[in-house]
Symmetry: C2
Subunit: 89 residues, 2 copies
Amino acid sequence: MHYIIVYDVSDNNKRNIIREKLKDIGGERIQYSGFIIDMDEEELIQLLGRIRRILEGEKGRVIAIPLCEKDMKKLITLTHNYEIKDELL
Amino acid sequence: MHYIIVYDVSDNNKRNIIREKLKDIGGERIQYSGFIIDMDEEELIQLLGRIRRILEGEKGRVIAIPLCEKDMKKLITLTHNYEIKDELL
């Protein structure tokens, strides 16, 4: 199952840790604070547990959006002169 | 059909215009730059056309994620001391 994970995390350090975690587990970055990842439900629960621990004491909201094959095919990306630059990482 | 619209737009003014547009058409704000909206495919195409015109000449990436009823029920939100504050608007 594919999941899109988007997150609002105000603390730079915590946000960086979450971003690296999502990259490590094979996430593809689709927004500055958004990844798409192929994983099963158990892996998702584990990931959210880790993120919850990372967020401890900080403000943040993380949303895991499941994406079935049918919806996946209908996903639309509108891009204007856009690239996620290294300096943003 | 529900759609989640998430956007990375660097220009503050353009981003504000997009946010107001999404609120005007009944979007519920779920992230700083993310809304969930109930609309049909034709309305989505119209919306993306408008956003494309707003973005003209600027950098940005907008993603429209379709969400079937089944996936909608499995969406997970992890919130930590979080609220989208007025001053962020």
